[in-house]
Subunit: 142 residues, 2 copies
DNA sequence: GGTAAATTCCCCACGATTCCCCACTAAATC
DNA sequence: GATTTAGTGGGGAATCGTGGGGAATTTACC
């Protein structure tokens, strides 16, 4: 399980460290240790899928409305990049991906269970304000 | 597998480098290293097929509705060109193909699994905007 | 048919980027 | 306080993209 949020800095060469806890779950729960990183189709962030989850996504593509499929393939499947973090646990994101999430120096990692998201810190903070506002009048009953 | 997106520049002689990762998969997964490049029948791009996939396409042509077959043959099969990248991994596209994809200087390569697409960068960007807009309200359930 | 021009092909060379390794610092752990 | 671990920076080798030169081939034109 990927959970928690972490901020790391991207250096001048464009490298960012994957937070150590995420690297751990990747190593222990996902045998090949590989990550598919791609755009989120409806938010300004990237999503990282371990191989098993990536396969589930590909299966989901086959189930989605046929009209949307080519859009989804171009926007999400094609730009995906396969990573196995280097010895220092860092990855180097391709330009197209960096741009989609408007990543600058401060990069925010957010665990979402079976996958995790990669945000520009500023975008994340902004998003969070929206999220809290939307929930203002909502009472959870449980 | 061809995956990821890459932009390369076409020089004045009309040569473009095939992205190195694509050259790799071509070398390792496709013994003859040859590429059939032709127009896409329904988008403004070119599609590159390794020999094995090209054969599958030809088989598919035989299965398609008889009414469409001659159209498809003329539009897609005829204009195809066979390439084996030069020592530097470059190819020289014929004029007809270049025109169909409106290729100018910046050329975009998009991996789509067993094949890859060749786009003019500007067209690709435009297409991507459309794609993301179409997916805006779509929720993936997986 | 012969000459000139243009195109294609093959090779080399340069600059930028990427990859891989090592090292430093700060924080956490014992 | 010593040791480990995480995040970050930098150096050097290798690779990749790209430009250009010249030979070979093709095309155009007289």
């Amino acid at each position: 399980m990927f959970q928690g949020e972490f901020s790391n800095n991207m250096d001048e060469k464009g490298r960012v460290s994957i937070p150590a806890p995420f690297r751990d779950t990747l190593r222990t729960h996902h045998t090949d240790g590989q990550l598919f990183i791609t755009r989120s189709h409806n938010t300004d962030c990237l999503i990282a899928y371990p191989t098993r989850e990536w396969k589930r996504l590909q299966a989901a593509v086959k189930e989605m409305p046929a009209k949307l499929r080519p859009h989804f393939k171009r926007a999400v499947i094609t730009p995906s990049q396969l990573f196995s973090p280097d010895k220092q646990g860092r990855i180097l994101l391709a330009c197209a991906l960096r741009q989609h999430a408007s990543l600058s120096r401060s990069v925010h990692f957010a665990g979402t269970g079976e996958t995790f998201e990669i945000w520009d810190k500023a975008s994340w903070d902004k998003q969070l304000v929206t999220d809290l506002a939307a929930l203002q009048d909502f009472e959870l009953d449980m």
